[in-house]
Symmetry: D2
Subunit: 290 residues, 4 copies
């Protein structure tokens, strides 16, 4: 099985390394050349044009957003290059609209299309600890199962309709942003009575909220440690907008998402777009004069 | 050390049983007589008047709300009964205003006042797995430490000002209600694309949100299992109002709390006041026509 | 017909002057003595105790809020003083709860109770241009009609249940605060594209929104003219809370009111509590970095 | 001066009739042929292709939205047809983004571009009572002034940047939607205390809110008279989204707009998309169980 990997940023490199480690032959392409030189030593064969992906049986892509996906697949010609009968696993967090469009275009070409957005950061990816949210035709998903198993610690199946995995990823990111805002509101509330955020958030993450979301973001919020960013405020806003947009198309009011949108804008208006998205709580702190 | 226990509902009984099990001599009082007959066998000595608590060195109370606390301590005369030098541990979830008032009144009487609201349900209390949020004068807290240790798995100290523990409890309940609403919004969003809530919420609770809050409420939301109630919608609204009220006094805007308030009212307007408070998500489901 | 007037602030004086001008004999009482000395020249007979109001056939009161009403009527003994068969016209903006309690207590005493909150400021009162929102027993309202006609330009009847007039006043003030926030949001939006608020708000008030609410507050917002206050931010918050509280009791979600509450708190947290309540828009301006 | 008019729906016909009445020679084009046959009798010369607009000195267009504008101007070739030195007056309510794009494209072609969205309905247009929100190069605006004066009762100038007029229109529609929601919240609140919406809304529109917005929509809300629609719920949502989108680009949080968005979605989820947009209040009524 020949594998192609498109989009070798920090996350892409970590995932490609897992595939190489599992013994797959991997062709790599990235917009800017040689982003992960060290993978060459592990066997990654970089190609300079998307056309060189033609012989691949399976293509994985880890691209930034709708625009990058469209740019590479359509304008860049990747989709036109893929062989009928091959499989494309799109790991990007894209809009439901983009997912739907891609599914249709792949079907037209006879290429199986699987959406597999991931949960986890590059360090988790390097250790095979990602969670994969997977949706696509059963036959295709079964075929690439060993490959997915080499990447993540667990595969969460969401049916045969690719967009389902994308909307699940969008909803998960929304839930994460909600948890950040909720930690912020609670922290500002107790701070109004002299309780240090650190004590409060440590208690939360040690009791009812003893989960990665609160353990990771609690200390960042308590110590206002918003650099270096793991995921930027700008991207947080982008993802909340994906949720609002998906909600609009399905006629689902999302009042928490509306609050988050305004708070992210507040952050942008105060020059915080490149901070970690947990800086969302700064909007509330400002409002409380804290 | 003679201990009095006032308020023997399900939670009070479970805590009193822990104290008896640890060898304390315990006098018990409850508004309605003999609520927990089986504790008599374990040594609980029920008294019929609050005045009989006079000889106690430490009094614990587990009452429903501000009104019950005021009723028992002031109108009922418990505070006037307590000896100077004794300690009162108030475990109720009360308003910051009530906490402040109680602290002042106890100080006037020379009775040490400790706020110790708890996290956990009666079954956790029975097994000594409660978390105690404790604030009060250091000397008094030190003195009752063995007793608190017999009750809970961990003591989380929040300083010497009793109201601090209450506002922390209020903020924690707010965070819990936020998590419920966030689960609801995500569930309705993915349902708009055909993804079953069960699959989505199981994934959440198995990944970034692997914490009691999501593990307990996720399945209840997924299966709309809102009876029997662990904690009623009405009480959820009450607690969100405590948060809003505490926020007002400290001038802290709480936009998520505002959304929760409206959704709880929506539930009340639809006859759901006696369901479990996770029925909060029904407001959103209705709005989305789901 | 002997008339008593309780509460002679700016508004009370202006209304009392109308009554004197219409030929009524008026006894006046105010907490702080002689607030409106010039009314003595017009015939106002100040009394130094509420007990002196006993002979009055009709009592009007214009007090600040629930607390002042309770303080004067109950603790101060005014209600106990009133003769069975007399009429009390309460012009304050009070809570529905207070209105209900007062109605019951007056009924117990055999005193007719009319709620008649007003729309308009002291200058409008002086010219008889107030609008009166009136609710109370028909027979009593008919009896005092000439007196009400001397005060306001128009009587808007809201039935026989006094609290109805109060909830209408509360809803009207909510609508006014909503108009201010809406003017603010629009102004900040167009300012983001270089359009001066003045040009925008003048257009609004000259077209679809050519009403006093927009004509009065538009220029204040455009020129950030928040002093001297006509009605303070603090009172704006108080009135929004009356709306939220009335909504809670009737199980009516009020999402706009929730937004207003947070923005008023934002103003308080920034030291703007004593500005005119149209300074509400400053919260939004801050958030947009404008 | 030869005038072209593109987009002859109800509003376009009414405006074109004003121009004919003022003595202008007018060429007309519409996607579906002969929508306003009666204008032929008044001198309107219908053309069957956009190319036939080439000789016009001034082109007015009244199209539905961004998509229709792009479709006619770009794909349909109207822009390529216009002579350098001619003027295009775009009366549509379009996004700021579309306005910006159009301004740039017209500049490239040497065609003056004026944005002139309007306030008013077709009946107002027929009587020359529209308000015109105008922005564009001063020289061009001066040149077409007589023509604009024939259309509307007043021209409100918003500078030389066309998008300014569009954002003002967007903000005005947002303010209108806010007024509708505010009327709804107040009506539901007073209804919770037995006050008929009719009495409440009539009072509002007769006092502080005596403006067209409240006089027009108040009775529609009071009597739930949502058909025939003057402006549909769907379009209301579209316009609120234009506001949110413009706010995002300028980093202006708009919390009221967020609430409106959710309530419009609630309406759509309940099959009310084709009702008049004042049916927005039905979302609140449902939530209150009214």
């Amino acid at each position: 099985m020949r594998v192609g990997f498109v989009g070798l940023g920090a996350m892409g490199c970590a995932i490609a390394a897992r595939l190489l480690g599992a013994g797959y032959e991997v062709l790599g392409w990235n917009r800017s050349p040689e982003p992960c030189a060290k993978l060459a030593a592990e066997g990654l064969q970089m190609v300079s044009s998307l056309g060189a992906m033609a012989p691949c049986d399976v293509i994985l892509s880890m691209l930034a957003d709708d625009k990058a996906v469209t740019s590479v697949l359509l304008e860049g010609g990747l989709l036109a290059t893929l062989r009928p009968g091959s499989v494309h696993i799109n790991m990007a967090t894209v809009s439901v609209e983009c997912a739907r469009d891609m599914a249709a275009r792949h079907a037209d070409r006879g290429v199986a299309y699987i959406a597999s957005p991931v949960l986890g950061r590059p360090d988790a990816a390097a250790e095979g600890r990602l969670h994969l949210l997977v949706a696509g035709a059963k036959e295709a998903v079964d075929r690439v199962h060993p490959l997915l198993a080499a990447i993540g610690q667990r595969i969460w199946p969401f049916g045969q309709n690719p967009e389902a995995a994308n909307v699940v990823k969008i909803a998960t990111n929304l839930t994460l942003a909600c948890a950040i805002e909720a930690m912020g509101e609670g922290t500002h509330l107790v701070a109004g009575y002299g309780v240090p955020g650190e004590a409060y958030l440590e208690m939360l993450a040690g009791t009812l909220f003893a989960a990665p979301a609160y353990k990771v973001y609690g200390p960042m919020i308590a110590h206002k440690r918003f650099t270096p960013p793991g995921f930027r405020v700008q991207l947080g806003l982008k993802d909340v907008k994906l949720a609002l947009q998906a909600g609009e198309a399905a006629r689902v009011p999302l009042p928490f998402a509306g609050v988050l949108r305004d708070n992210f804008l507040d952050c942008l208006a105060h020059g915080e777009g490149d901070l970690d998205w947990s800086a969302l709580v700064e909007a509330g702190a400002r409002r409380a004069g804290q």
